[in-house]
């Protein structure tokens, strides 16, 4: 097999650093030297460049496609359309509703229509401009509420425009009597993952008629299961190898270049590299669902919630992607981490001709968190208690029931978290002349402090960890323990995707702890080993960590057998086999000799149940995680500019496996929540994206991020490996409502929409 230059490589480290330590990342050295091979760095002699022609229209019928002019351009090797898709013309993450290349109709701006392979990427772009697509432009359906309720709206898919409707019903919310009622309509704009590494991959045709695909994915096997049928190849002839990922955040859960690059490679017989540029990337992956949410909370005079009614509408755009699961999260977690005796939620996910939406960090729990937390602040004001107190009075604890009826059967220390958050010192009030760079507007010199008001706000969020609703969620690990160069070495092979979060570090830590070795090799993730599931839902520490641990324990069992001791009586530490009583049974090198031990194990979490389609009831989640934030902002109330001055967080993670990585997750997740609060939105009008660039789609810079303080709690979950609780997503939920609450506190504005823009602060 031909392999690419600058391709994935094994990472080997010999050092101490087991579970609970913060060893240096095994890939960090390569990354700081510019030597780490990202998928956009893949290169091969004789390779071609793939280009995608995309629809300029959000909704149109295709009357014909003429590729003849494009084919005559020197340097163009092929032009492919839907007719050239070898196998299934359709694919999809959940429903197979998405064409590999558009056939008779395009349903969103940016939908792939044709593919070009050329000698130079610029030649490919010019060829794309020469493909003549005859469109009959149609009026797009862009209003998600019309998609639900208006029978005269176009039916975008044969099953209608509703992807999923999920009610949640507890008690009788209509009959419940409340002394205090607060209500509101809240809107969340379309957020983008804005990972920095563009979608890219290299497909290499193989001698057996198959293809080797090097790509940056979040879940190689789910890619494989979608790619192979479209290529009309058995899964054994489509081999995927993970290449370096420049961030993901949900945006790589759906396919981008995968099928297209393979088609071009198989057609031309040459390696084909595809790499989106930033503008194309905005059209090349799904986004966070924009949402409209109408909430009504009834409570008693003390602020204890009596009922919640909510209507949640999530715009899934043109194709389903992961919308069904996003709706499930929005519905099951729609009241937040609060005890509520009567609930009536209707959550909808719909098709429109807007950009397709799917997975982004927080996955359906982010949108509702903004709404229910805004409601909690209204409730606090209505009954005259503090934001922290109203949350404490309604907080869940271990033993509480969620709206789905599921009992929280592991620690849920929300009240304590709020109390600890309140105890974190506030930043000092500004005095005297201030550095411009600390003020809203910064070096733009828009204020010297006049018109600047300070505000404080709180936010609380709850997120499910791992896959939910009865999904068969598992991960696979292969461990090989052998003597190399006179030293015991553990090789860890999984398909678990390192997206930056530190999974490669953690896998090595677990192998060291369980096998008592220092030297660990992490081989590149690929489809030669079983599925690891997706690097999403904050699940890889739990699932692939759990699989590595389980496989290591089995390796230990083999060693115990060789030594003739019971597995429970054996520990491996410092390269030695040690009995429970502490006696050395032998050096690992001697026990292993020339005989390697190799084990492959699958690991599953406790099974979950589907939600009842009418009541929403069911133990749909296996683990839930909490994070709380307090934000302090300075707002220039004359210009509407916001400076977030301070962010503090308290999170319960069950067990800290690697503090350095964990802090990075909390800080990074918080930053994405800040982005949603005050700047990030894909602006869509009539189905067209208006700001597909980093010039116009703003993400937080180092100037936008305040210092962060955090407190990390460790209340173990007895069901999880090491007692851990998934940690990557919860901070993304709670920072947004905390920041908006702080802006409301500073301005007195209602601010029912994120991101908050200057005109929302200073407008009428």
């Amino acid at each position: 097999m031909r392999t690419p230059v600058r391709g994935p490589e094994s990472l080997t480290q010999g050092l101490r650093g087991g579970v609970g330590d913060s060893p240096v990342r095994p890939d960090a050295r390569l990354k700081v030297r510019g030597e780490f091979a990202y998928s956009s760095d893949l290169w091969m002699e004789n390779m071609l460049w793939g280009t995608t022609l995309r629809s300029p229209h959000p909704y149109a019928r295709i009357r014909g496609i003429d590729i003849s002019a494009a084919l005559t351009l020197p340097g163009v090797r092929c032009v492919l359309t839907a007719d050239d898709v070898p196998g299934s013309k359709m694919y999809g993450n959940d429903k197979r509703d998405q064409p590999v290349l558009a056939m008779d109709v395009v349903r969103y701006q940016g939908e792939p229509v044709a593919l070009i392979a050329a000698d130079h990427p610029e030649t490919g772009r010019r060829a794309a401009a020469l493909v003549d697509v005859d469109y009959e432009v149609l009026q797009p359906l862009t209003d998600p509420e019309r998609a639900i309720h208006d029978d005269s709206a176009p039916r975008l898919h044969s099953g209608g425009n509703v992807v999923r409707h999920q009610p949640v019903v507890v008690g009788d919310a209509d009959a419940a009597v409340a002394e205090v009622v607060v209500s509101g309509e809240y809107t969340v704009g379309m957020q983008d993952q804005a990972f920095l590494g563009p979608e890219s991959g290299l497909a290499v045709p193989a001698e057996d008629g198959g293809v080797d695909l090097y790509v940056a994915s979040q879940w190689l096997h789910n890619d494989l299961w979608q790619v192979a049928p479209c290529l009309d190849l058995p899964e054994s002839k489509v081999r995927l190898t993970q290449s370096g990922v420049g961030g993901a955040f949900g945006g790589r859960e759906d396919l981008s270049v995968q099928i297209h690059a393979c088609m071009l490679a198989l057609h031309t017989g040459r390696p084909v590299k595809m790499m989106y540029h930033r503008q194309e990337s905005f059209f090349g992956h799904v986004h966070r669902h924009p949402a409209v949410m109408r909430y009504e909370h009834g409570a008693d005079r003390d602020g204890r919630i009596v009922y919640v009614k909510a209507e949640i509408i999530l715009d899934g755009g043109a194709y389903a992607s992961t919308t069904p699961a996003v709706v499930g999260n929005a519905a099951s977690l729609g009241i937040g981490p609060y005890e509520v005796p009567n609930v009536a939620i209707d959550a909808w996910g719909v098709y429109t001709n807007n950009p397709p939406c799917g997975a982004m960090r927080g996955f359906g729990a982010v949108q509702t968190c903004f709404a229910y937390e805004s409601q909690m602040d209204k409730l606090a004001a209505a009954v005259g208690i503090s934001p922290a107190e109203v949350r404490r009075r309604n907080a869940v604890a271990q033993g509480s029931r969620l709206a789905t009826g599921q009992v929280l059967d592991s620690p849920a220390p929300l009240a304590e978290m709020l109390t600890r958050l309140e105890a974190i010192p506030l930043p000092e009030a500004p005095q005297g002349d201030r550095d411009l760079r600390d003020l809203p507007g910064g070096v733009a010199n828009t204020t010297h402090g006049e018109g600047v008001r300070r505000g404080i706000g709180f936010g609380v969020g709850i997120k499910n960890i791992c896959f939910s609703e009865g999904f068969d969620d598992y991960s696979t690990a292969r461990i090989r323990l052998e003597v190399i160069g006179g030293e015991p070495v553990a090789l860890v092979h999984t398909a678990g995707i390192e997206v930056g979060q530190g999974l490669v570090t953690l896998q090595a830590q677990i192998a060291r702890t369980e096998l008592g070795v220092e030297r660990v090799t992490i081989v590149p993730a690929d489809t030669a080993v079983g599925s690891a599931g997706s690097s999403s839902a904050s699940r890889q520490s739990y699932m692939t960590g759990g699989a590595v641990r389980a496989a290591c324990i089995e390796v230990r069992g083999v060693i115990a057998g060789r030594l003739g001791v019971a597995p429970v009586d054996l520990r491996l530490t410092g390269g030695k086999a040690v009995s429970a009583a502490g006696g050395v049974l032998g050096a690992l090198v001697d026990v292993l000799g020339g005989d390697a031990i190799e084990v492959t194990r699958e690991f599953r979490h406790r099974p979950t149940a589907p939600m009842d389609p009418l009541s929403g009831r069911g133990d749909s989640h296996t683990q839930l995680a909490l994070c709380v934030h307090r934000a302090v902002v300075d707002v220039d109330v004359e210009l509407g500019l916001v400076k977030v001055v301070d962010l503090s967080a308290v999170q319960d993670v069950g067990k800290i496996l690697n503090r350095l990585s964990l802090e990075g997750q909390i800080q990074g997740g918080t930053a994405q929540g800040l982005g949603l609060a005050v700047m990030e939105e894909i602006l869509v009008s009539e189905g067209k994206v208006r700001n597909p660039s980093f010039t116009d789609y703003l993400i937080p810079t180092i100037l936008d991020m305040p210092p962060m303080r955090m407190e990390i709690l460790e209340y173990p979950d007895p069901n999880a490996p090491y007692g851990l609780r998934g940690a990557g997503e919860p901070p993304t939920l709670s920072s947004t409502p905390a920041i908006v609450a702080a802006i409301r506190d500073a301005t007195g504005r209602a601010l029912p929409r994120v991101p908050v823009r200057p005109e929302h602060i200073v407008g009428d």
Partner: protein, 158 residues
């Protein structure tokens, strides 16, 4: 066209360069220096930052022919002059402080931070923030990048 320039102290030449290519493309695709990264190719993210002579620039905004006859220093050259396998103080600090997650922003940040410490060996936090405001990072929330620059500033050999 054929272009000659110096990259990380080495004289190199690229053939068949299309005049519309960026310095970034030429470095990555023609000269074998993929360290500088292609995140936005619009001068907004800083991932492609390199030295052109003695100035830190976004290499995506420099036309390849503009670099003819000049000195380019990329992330691959930051540890130049040090013994093999040794990292520069800033590179080492990024590793130790946890400033690297996905790492796609890292090459640009390292060049920008190197440039900052060359101009200002003991920057205040607000000076660090101002100097690095042109480098986007999506993973870290920047806190550990600040930690890394603070750490590097306490050491010699930026």
């Amino acid at each position: 066209m054929r272009l000659k320039l110096s990259v990380n102290g080495e004289d190199v030449a690229a053939d068949d360069v299309w005049p519309g290519e960026s310095l970034l493309y030429m470095l990555r695709e023609r000269l074998g220096f993929p360290g500088a990264k292609n995140a936005c190719e619009q001068g907004e993210c800083g991932s492609c930052t390199v030295y052109l002579d003695d100035t830190a620039v976004c290499s995506c905004l420099v036309a390849a022919p503009q670099a003819a006859g000049r000195r380019v220093r990329t992330v691959e050259g930051l540890a130049a002059g040090l013994p093999d396998e040794e990292l520069s103080a800033i590179q080492a600090a990024f590793v130790e402080a946890g400033a690297v997650q996905c790492g796609f922003c890292t090459p640009g940040l390292l060049v920008s931070a190197t440039d900052l410490l060359r101009r200002n060996p003991q920057p205040s936090d607000v000076e660090v923030r101002e100097a690095l405001a042109g480098n986007l990072c999506r993973c870290t929330g920047y806190e550990k990048i600040l930690d890394a620059v603070r750490l590097a500033a306490t050491r010699r050999n930026p």
